[in-house]
Symmetry: C2
Subunit: 276 residues, 2 copies
Amino acid sequence: MASSEFDRGIALHPDGGDGWYRGELGAGWQIGGGVNGGFLLAAAAHALRLELPQHPDPLSISGYYLSASRPGPYTVQTEVLRKGNSLSNATAVLHQQDENGQRVERLRVLAGYTDLATLDGEVGTAAVEPVLPPREQCIGVEHAPPQFIEQAALLQRFDLRLDPACVGWALGRPSGNGVIQGWFRLADGREPDPLALLLVADALPPVTFDLGRPGWAPTIELTVHLRALPAPGWLKVSHRTRNLAGGYFEEDCEIWDETGRLVAQSRQLARAPRVP
Amino acid sequence: MASSEFDRGIALHPDGGDGWYRGELGAGWQIGGGVNGGFLLAAAAHALRLELPQHPDPLSISGYYLSASRPGPYTVQTEVLRKGNSLSNATAVLHQQDENGQRVERLRVLAGYTDLATLDGEVGTAAVEPVLPPREQCIGVEHAPPQFIEQAALLQRFDLRLDPACVGWALGRPSGNGVIQGWFRLADGREPDPLALLLVADALPPVTFDLGRPGWAPTIELTVHLRALPAPGWLKVSHRTRNLAGGYFEEDCEIWDETGRLVAQSRQLARAPRVP
């Protein structure tokens, strides 16, 4: 039995062979009445890793969310599309059964997998690491709006310390900048790896909180690029949006490891919460 | 027969029903020995539009490029995953035959479709339109490196006027900023629509030119968010990269229409050309 709650959460068992797996979504990964989208992506990505032992890491992975997941059993059906020298492609479907026993698709995934340990060591990045106050000056999520905390069992799995400059929304004074950033690690100390980074890409409160919209923001699509293996330790995570329009917004996430390396970039398209 | 070369290029015929279509990739859409990735995405997106008359526009569409496409016949196999009130999801596979008559997958697509004309009219964007010199002060692609022009039949389909501030690479003096931007329209005056925007998202020279790397940059994955129906006229297009590392880079594209509306945002992950 895996010692970390995250690893137990994404544990899979072969289900009749042929690329099918089954698992159980724990109640602890819920947020707002559904299971967190980043967690679901990690579960599907885990199944693809099992099918691609030569290329165990997602380099780019896209998830489209078709219906809200609930705690309970699920299956993942995988299909390998191409095995290449440095990159393989695969797709996955995550299903659950509805109350009538009908199979319902929750998430469809398309990905390119590689072995991140073998990547060229060059780093020519122009991206700048977020400047965050020391963790002891940051704000835990216990200060989030009560209606947020109530529905967010997920947050107990995280040690999340938000930059005080972007938590004005907790005091009714959102900055309007469309930025939320902070320090992150899993509460039980489980070190980051590519699968955990998929969870982290969707772990902060919706960036629309900072625009004065405290409601839920269901993800339509989430694509994560894993750019390096993360070092052990704390992560710096930033979420940013620039274009809230037509009822949708994009949320760009960057994840930096403790050595100052940009290890993941993601973008999601989500439905904008209404102005309260 | 469609009067625009783009529409003729993505024309499809039902192929035995059941969501299959066939078309012909014209030689005019080649770049660097393969068919342009944005053009291929538009062809696959066209097939999905035919399957989803209630939701004709991609809201978010992700393409994973599995092998290099060649001019000639292709098929698109579509599957509708879910039909919702405001959003439907579907997947598409674009195939060609290899020299032995074997079917080879070129592109796998996953998408959420909507009717962009019905979106909420709110625009709360913080994104700022690129500042470009007037078109007559911009630079046509006839000044690109000869080895680029030779392999880029594609460019003759475009009226592309690049900002002189980001074409130092044409004179051997790349800025190193990782930005290329300019004015765009189709050479035959065909007005922009959501399918054409998919082409535009991959139409500028690779942003790595501006980093002093004039080689090809094959796309691994391209996701486009269509955020509004574009107005007729010229488009402003910007490409930017921040993180070239480990042999890959992301390329973020924004497309603005002539009314100053941000109509599409895209990100691709591509293989970085080597330093010459």
